[in-house]
C-alpha cells in the first residue's frame, strides 16, 4: 500500500481506498485476492467515483511517469501512462510542439486522458484526445500485453479509449503532437447577453478560431439568462511584445475550511463582477498558453474551497437541435435553485467522431459546472437536470459524475453492451458497479 489517501477531485467520500504503486511498465499487475478487483488510478482529477474502487485495489500510476521517445521533427511522443500533460508541455513546448487536445487542467495523466477520451476547447476542430493516439500498450489481468492501434487489436483500441479504465491497464501510449510557433495564444473575449447570442458567436467563430469556449453566469435569470463571456483564440504566429515570460503558479488552498466558501453570496458577487471584468464588450490580448488553458491550475488544491463535504460537477451534452431550448431549461432550473458555481462552462462540440465506444463527446452543446455538496438538495436538482438531458437525447460525462442512475447511463451510452465484451474481468470501479446497479459494496 502506498501514496494514499486516494480521493477524486470532488472530495466526496466513497469509502476508504487502497492503492498499490505501479512504477515499472514491464512489471506484472498487482496480485489481488480472489473476488477482488483492481482499477488504474491516474491523478485523481475525475470528479466522482470513476477513478475509485471501494473494496478493491487501485493501481497507482502516478510514478509510471517516464518518457520513452520523442521525435522533435515529426512531433510523435511515446511515454508511460502516468506522465502528466504538464510534464509533456514542459518538454515539448520549447521545441515547438503542443498537445493536440488539452483539458481545463494540465494535471491529468496520459492514461486518464485516454480512459475518459478527454476533450478541449478545440473539440470542434480536433475532436478528442483519442483521435490523436497512434498506439498504446494494454496490460490485461491474464498477463497479456496487447499492442493496440487503429489497425491492430482494433477492438481493444476503441474500447480502451473512453473505456473508464475497465479494459485493462494502459502502460504507455504514443501520440501525435501538433506544431506551434511559440507558447502564446492570441485571445479575444466577447461579452454576450443571452444563449442565442452565444450560439451565434460560436457559429461565427468555429471556422476562424482553433479554440472556443464560454463562461456563463449560472445565476442570471430572465432576460439575462445565459449571459456570459465568450473566449476564442489561436496559437500566435508571432510574439507581440518582448521576451516571453513563463507565468508562475502561486496560491494554493492549504486545507479544507470547515464550511464551504462557495455560497450564494460569494457566488453572486463573483459572477456579477466576472461578467463585467472587462469594460469593453470585446477585448483582445496575447496571453501565455497557461492562463488561457489552465486558469484554475494557478490555485493549487482549489477543490478544498468547497469544504469537507466536497462538491459535484455536472457536465452534459445536448444535441444541437435541442440545444437552445434544452440549455435554457437547464439554466432556468439552476438559476431558480440558486445553486451552481463560479465556473460554468459552455462549448459547442464539433462533429468529428470520437474513436471510443464509450466516448462522451458527440455533436452538440455541452455545459459543465460545479455544485457544492448540499446532500439531497443538490442531488434532487441534478436528477432534474438529468431528466432534461435525457429527454433531449443527451448524455452525462462519467468523468464528472458521482450520482447518475443506471438508466441515464444506459441511455447515454448506446454501445455499452458491445463495450462490456472487452472489459477485463478483474477490473472494476465504484462508478461501474453503480451504473450497473450493483453498488451494495460501495457506501457513500
Amino acid at each position: 500500500m502506498s501514496g494514499g489517501p486516494y480521493q477524486s477531485w470532488g472530495r466526496i467520500d466513497f469509502g476508504p481506498q487502497s492503492g498499490v504503486r505501479f512504477d515499472d511498465r514491464t512489471s506484472a499487475l498487482p496480485q489481488i485476492e480472489a473476488g477482488q478487483t483492481m482499477l488504474p488510478y491516474g491523478n485523481g482529477r475525475s470528479y466522482g467515483d470513476s477513478c475509485l474502487n471501494t473494496g478493491g485495489v487501485l493501481i497507482d500510476c502516478r510514478h509510471l511517469d517516464r518518457f520513452i521517445a520523442f521525435d522533435a521533427d515529426s512531433g510523435v511522443l511515446r511515454c508511460e501512462a502516468g506522465v502528466l500533460l504538464a510534464d509533456i508541455l514542459d518538454v515539448v513546448v520549447p521545441r515547438g510542439w503542443f498537445l493536440p487536445v488539452s483539458p481545463g487542467t494540465r494535471l491529468v495523466t496520459v492514461g486518464g486522458a485516454i480512459a475518459n477520451d478527454i476533450h478541449g476547447k478545440n473539440h470542434h476542430r480536433a475532436g478528442t484526445f483519442g483521435s490523436h493516439l497512434r498506439s498504446f500498450e494494454l496490460l490485461r489481468s491474464d498477463g497479456a500485453r496487447l499492442f493496440c492501434a487503429p489497425q491492430e487489436n482494433r477492438d481493444y483500441f476503441h474500447a480502451t479509449i473512453g473505456g473508464l479504465g475497465l479494459t485493462g491497464m494502459v502502460t504507455w501510449a504514443e501520440l501525435q503532437l501538433k506544431p506551434i510557433a511559440n507558447a502564446y495564444i492570441d485571445q479575444e473575449i466577447i461579452r454576450f447577453h443571452n444563449l442565442t447570442e452565444f450560439f451565434r458567436l460560436s457559429e461565427a467563430s468555429d471556422d476562424g478560431f482553433e479554440y472556443t469556449v464560454a463562461w456563463i453566469d449560472c445565476l442570471a435569470k430572465d432576460v439575462s439568462l445565459g449571459r456570459g463571456l465568450f473566449m476564442r483564440g489561436n496559437h500566435a504566429t508571432e510574439i507581440a511584445r518582448g521576451e516571453p515570460k513563463t507565468p508562475r503558479d502561486g496560491l494554493s488552498v492549504p486545507f479544507a475550511p470547515p464550511l464551504s466558501l462557495i455560497n450564494q453570496v460569494s457566488l453572486r458577487a463573483f459572477n456579477a463582477l466576472y461578467f463585467r471584468k472587462q469594460r469593453e464588450d470585446e477585448a483582445a490580448a496575447q496571453v501565455h498558453y497557461r492562463p488561457f488553458f489552465y486558469p484554475l491550475d494557478a490555485i493549487g488544491d482549489w477543490n478544498r474551497m468547497y469544504g469537507p463535504k466536497g462538491f459535484f460537477q455536472y457536465q452534459c451534452v445536448l444535441p444541437l437541435a435541442e440545444g437552445d431550448a434544452g440549455m435554457t431549461e437547464i439554466l432556468r432550473k439552476i438559476a431558480a435553485a440558486g445553486m451552481g458555481s463560479f465556473l460554468a462552462v459552455l462549448k459547442i462540440f464539433g462533429d468529428r467522431p470520437s474513436p471510443g465506444l464509450m466516448s462522451f463527446p458527440r455533436p452538440g452543446v455541452t455545459l459543465a459546472l460545479d455544485f457544492p455538496n448540499t446532500g439531497d438538495k443538490v442531488r434532487g436538482l441534478l436528477d432534474q437536470l438529468d431528466a432534461i438531458t435525457g429527454a433531449c437525447g443527451g448524455a452525462v460525462y462519467p468523468a464528472k459524475d458521482a450520482r447518475m442512475s443506471p438508466q441515464m447511463f444506459r441511455q447515454a451510452f448506446p454501445r455499452l453492451e458491445e463495450f462490456a465484451k472487452w472489459t477485463d474481468p478483474a477490473f472494476s470501479s465504484s462508478f461501474w458497479r453503480r451504473v450497473n446497479g450493483a453498488n451494495s459494496q460501495d457506501n457513500s
Binding site: R21, D23, R25, H63, I68
Partner: protein
C-alpha cells in the same frame, strides 16, 4: 556541457534529481543494478534534454563491480563535472541486531561502497581541479537512534568522510556536498505511514540540483530538517532514551 555520473541512478531521489539536471543538456553516465531499468531512465532523460546517456550495470555492494563501474565511467568520459552517489538500502534494524553478517552487509552497501567510490573519484577530481561530488546521506546520521542506528552509522561514516574530503580539497575548485534528506516518499519507505513531514522525491531532487549548482557543503532537505536535527542532537540523553525514535 556537463558530464554527470549517478550511482543508484534509478533511485527515486536520484531520478528526480536527474530530471532537474537533464534540461540543461548534459551527458549522463548511469550506474545501477538492473540494466533494463537503467535503459528506461536513459530514454526518459534523453527526451527531457540530455545530450547523451550511457548506462552501466553494477552491484555496488560488490567491491570488484564497484571498481569496474568507475573504470567504465572513465572509459566513457575523460572528465566528470558532477558525481551523485544515491544508492542505498534501508536495512532491517531488528534483523541486524541479531546478525553481524547482515549488519556488515548493510554497512557495505550504505557506507563502504560510497567510501570506495569517493576514494577513486576524489583523486580524479583533485587532478582535474574542478567538479562537484554530491552524496545523499541522511538525517539518520546526525544522531544514533535505536530504530535505525545501523543505517545511521553508515550514513554518518560517509558524512565524516565527506568532511575530510572537503577539507582536503578546500584549496581546489572541487565542491563536496553532503545531502541529508529527512523523510522522503520513495520505494525505500513504501511501508511507512506518511504524514506532514514527508517530502516528495521531486522536492528533494530539486533541492539537490540547486545544491549542486550553488556548491553548498551540507544541505538538509527539505530545509526545516536542519532545525529539527539541531533539536534532536541536543536533547539530553536522559530524555532521548525515553523516546521511541
Amino acid at each position: 556541457m556537463e558530464n554527470i555520473v549517478i550511482f543508484g541512478a534509478y533511485s527515486a531521489i536520484a531520478e528526480a534529481t536527474a530530471r532537474h539536471l537533464a534540461p540543461s543538456g548534459g551527458r549522463f553516465f548511469l550506474v545501477g543494478r538492473d540494466s533494463a531499468k537503467l535503459d528506461q531512465v536513459a530514454a526518459d532523460l534523453k527526451v527531457r534534454g540530455a545530450q547523451e546517456v550511457h548506462i552501466f550495470a553494477s552491484d555496488l555492494a560488490v567491491p570488484s563491480e564497484m571498481l569496474a563501474s568507475v573504470e567504465a565511467l572513465y572509459g566513457a568520459f575523460d572528465k566528470v563535472d558532477v558525481a551523485l552517489l544515491a544508492h542505498g538500502t534501508l536495512p532491517d534494524q531488528q534483523a541486524c541486531q541479531g546478525d553481524a553478517a547482515q549488519t556488515l552487509a548493510a554497512l557495505e552497501v550504505n557506507g563502504l561502497s560510497h567510501i570506495g567510490l569517493l576514494t577513486l573519484l576524489a583523486e580524479r577530481l583533485e587532478q582535474q581541479g574542478s567538479g562537484t561530488i554530491a552524496v545523499i546521506t541522511s538525517v539518520a546520521g546526525d544522531r544514533g537512534r535505536k530504530s535505525n542506528y545501523v543505517y545511521g552509522t553508515a550514513k554518518r561514516a560517509v558524512s565524516t568522510f565527506l568532511d575530510g574530503l572537503r577539507h582536503r580539497l578546500a584549496a581546489t575548485d572541487v565542491k563536496v556536498i553532503d545531502i541529508r534528506p529527512g523523510f522522503v516518499d520513495t520505494p525505500m519507505t513504501a511501508d511507512f505511514d506518511k504524514g506532514a513531514l514527508w517530502a516528495s522525491p521531486d522536492k528533494v531532487g530539486g533541492d539537490i540540483a540547486r545544491a549542486i549548482e550553488k556548491g553548498r557543503p551540507v544541505v538538509y532537505s527539505p530545509w526545516f530538517w536542519r532545525y529539527i536535527m539541531v533539536i534532536i542532537r541536543n536533547v539530553p540523553a536522559f530524555v532521548f532514551h525515553k523516546t521511541n525514535l
